[in-house]
């Protein structure tokens, strides 16, 4: 996650200084996360995808969690559509990043289809932390560009490396996928709602695994989110007249 060195109250003696700070932040995130494309390349190739398929995923999908989810589901024997559905639902959060970014960046309509591919966790984190539109645009562009280039380069290297390594499981590389998921998940577990959702999803995901076709249990586990929201809403509204009064 980005370190926010560009604090809004920084005194600007010369105009170049904040730009440089934004670029430094953006490159820090772009390089650190871009390098982890290596883990994806290895995991994907180790899951049995070809070099071309692995690289196509990083070039065209370019949202890490969805990519890991897809290759994991395919390796587990899921059908193309159930595997793609899990990856797609993970990607839905990017729409909400885009919503906030479009206001901040105020991109011309013609540029939006190009910029869209870069709307992901990391570019959003850097961009949303910037105090001005100029800084936001620089942050978005530099993070997006450095991350896109590096992520694809390291994906290629990882896939080539996996072919050279042979049995990637012997090197413990099958643990890279779950570790990436856990690292993405951990900062999201802020309140009881998120923790309850995660716990229910784990139970559903593991409990249904032996009985449902591959790829389906994870989709069923996604229902933990609406279930917890529903239970929370009920508790808030159904806790007697007193609670109902307070809720209004």
């Amino acid at each position: 996650m980005p370190e926010q060195t560009a604090s809004p109250d920084i005194r600007t003696e010369d105009v170049e200084r904040p730009d440089a700070a934004v670029v430094r932040d953006a490159l820090g995130v772009g390089i650190a996360v871009g390098l982890s494309g290596f883990a994806f390349g290895v995991t994907s190739a180790g899951s049995g995808l070809s070099l071309a398929q692995t690289c196509a995923l990083s070039l065209l999908v370019f949202t890490g969690a969805s990519q890991f989810a897809l290759v994991g589901a395919l390796a587990a024997g899921g059908t193309p559509l159930t595997a793609a559905a899990g990856a797609f639902f993970l990607g839905v959060r990017n729409a909400f990043y885009g919503l906030r970014l479009s206001q901040l960046l105020a991109l011309p309509r013609a540029l939006r289809p190009l910029a869209a591919q870069w709307v992901i966790d990391e570019t959003s984190a850097v961009t949303l932390a910037q105090p001005t539109r100029r800084a936001a645009r620089i942050g978005f562009t530099v993070t997006g560009l450095s991350l896109y280039v590096l992520w694809n380069l390291t994906t290629l290297l990882g896939a080539l490396g996996a072919q050279a390594l042979g049995d990637t499981d012997a090197w413990g590389l099958d643990a890279a996928g779950p570790a990436v998921f856990l690292a993405l998940l951990a900062p999201m577990l802020k309140t009881t709602t998120e923790r309850a959702t995660a716990a229910l999803a784990v139970l559903l995901g593991l409990g249904l695994l032996p009985v449902l076709p591959a790829g389906v249990p994870v989709l069923a586990a996604a229902l933990a989110a609406p279930a917890v929201l529903w239970a929370e809403g009920r508790r808030r509204n159904g806790g007697g007249d007193h609670a109902r009064e307070e809720g209004r």
Partner: protein, 102 residues
């Protein structure tokens, strides 16, 4: 072929939602319930995926070296280690546990 279909569907779907965020009027997605659901959906998916990819092999639940690897990743996260180090910890510990016969 099946794999290419999955890749094409995922690529189109993921691009479409990214573009939708930049194009749709803000009001459409700004309803509180939609926002909350969108924020919780990744939590449920990531939790389920973490558990499945650690504790299963095909349709069978298993406890093997990956559990040790995930525990190492969790420890690294608690210690606020950077992303790459978290992944590296999981890989190294899993490989080590396997080498010792777990």
């Amino acid at each position: 072929m099946n794999t290419w279909i999955a890749i094409a569907v995922t690529a189109l779907g993921c691009y479409a939602v990214k573009l939708a965020g930049l194009l749709v009027p803000a009001g459409l997605l700004e309803r509180p319930l939609v926002r909350r659901l969108a924020a919780l959906l990744p939590v449920s998916l990531l939790a389920a995926l973490t558990a499945q990819q650690t504790f299963s092999h095909g349709h069978v639940l298993v406890l093997d070296a990956r559990a040790a690897g995930l525990a190492a990743a969790a420890l690294a996260l608690v210690l606020r280690a950077p992303f790459l180090l978290v992944v590296a910890a999981a890989v190294v510990v899993t490989a080590g546990a396997r080498a010792m016969g777990a």
